[in-house]
Amino acid sequence: MPENDGFYIQRCLDGHPDDFRHLVRRYKGPLMGYLGGQLGRSDLAEEALQEVFVRCYFGLTSLEKPESFFAWMLGVANRVAKEQVRIEQKERQATEKLAQIPAQTKSGRDWPLVKTVAKLDDFSRQLILLRYYGGHSCKDVATIMNIPIGTVTKSLSRAYARLREMLKDEAAQESEVQL
């Protein structure tokens, strides 16, 4: 783990904007996972992801707790996603091409899973996003979230159980619909 978030945030505030790059690298995966789950379309999620980072950069001066940087970014991402949905709806109404919107079937993307992750409680969601969408080890996740590693593994275990439950429910609902 090179440096903590606080270090890079301070560097940015001290006039080294390029250090924001490290934070983008660290969180692009988790945020993309989250936005994918919220928006359900990769093109919208990609657009929103850039917007989230730009807003976060310019909002750094108002960030009170650098140690909660990721949670704060998820908040920004949530707002951007909601705005995106509103814009999208307006555009659709304006063009009346609702039926022509192509379904998002980009290969390799598991939409039910990512949508379920977005529905987890805040804490479990952060863990799963950092671990799998950010590709961070359990140790790094513990450092980023500032919690003991034992808490990471225990909470991951609970998060897996919850995810499996939710995925099962969803699959059951889907099969009911098909019947």
Partner: protein, 330 residues
Amino acid sequence: MNCVECRELLVGYIEGLLDAGSNEAVKSHLDTCAECRRELEEITSLQERLVSNGDSHNQKDLENTVMDRIVREQAFQLRKANEKKPHFNFWRPVMRSSITKFAAAAAVIVVGVLGISVFFRTQSPAWALEQSIEAISMYKAVITEGFQSPRVWKKDGSLGLLPAKTWAVENQDQTAVEKCRMEIEGFLILTTNGQKTWRYDPNTNTVSVENRPYKATELGISRMLEQLKELRDSGKYSFADWKETYGKDPASGRVRVYLTFALTQGPFSPRSMWFEFDAESKLLIGYKQWDNTSREGTPLIDVEKITYYEILPDELFEFVTPEGAKVIES
């Protein structure tokens, strides 16, 4: 070890985070308990699904895209902030000249007609070009607008881009820029009238004057593409990866030549460049320069808007020493 204890340690076991004793205990419980083995399989299969889903959401080049947007947005905000700030004293005497006022007004009109936002070059000066394509040989003067990194003129300059504007007039035989004026963030930092060169540092309020022209490049304005090719063939610089591609400008439908190359050795290296020329008139439309050979990261110079003129007033290239400034003659 019973099933409850085993399941509590299962994630740590999978992640390889248990101490040798616990690891062994979990292992031997799994050997005997089919129920827990199934649980282990379920978790690993969910993990695999998460890993492959996570990979598919990875955006490879996002860092550069985001940093580029941030730098542009920052430059834009800086410019907006500067518009509100009063200019330095030295600017005012220059603006008093009626000819300069006229030139400034003409430039504003051109911008107004084009309706350009500096940040979106989709409608570039194609309009200006289109209207006067027949008179191309008359274009000896140019105003460029874009961004520059402080590293261009200051070795210890940090990253980031500042709004930059340049006025330039080429010499009679169109082989080099003769007169030039450069403003960064609205501050005049360099000007040459072809005989004298002034450099100004607004931070220390110091002017240094040299009794010689400032030779920016060995290139003129109206024949730049041709001259670049001559330079390449002269063997004077080490050009690498020279590549010309053609494309159509979506806004104007005009054919464009995109030229890229790198300079790997010599006083200006390492550098890489990107040029956009109008294919018919051969005039430069856009330009970027990086201080690496692979056009990576934030550019050193990013010229986004170029307006061609037949002439620019001489007053633009004179320097009026600001009140109280220290003058160093060399």
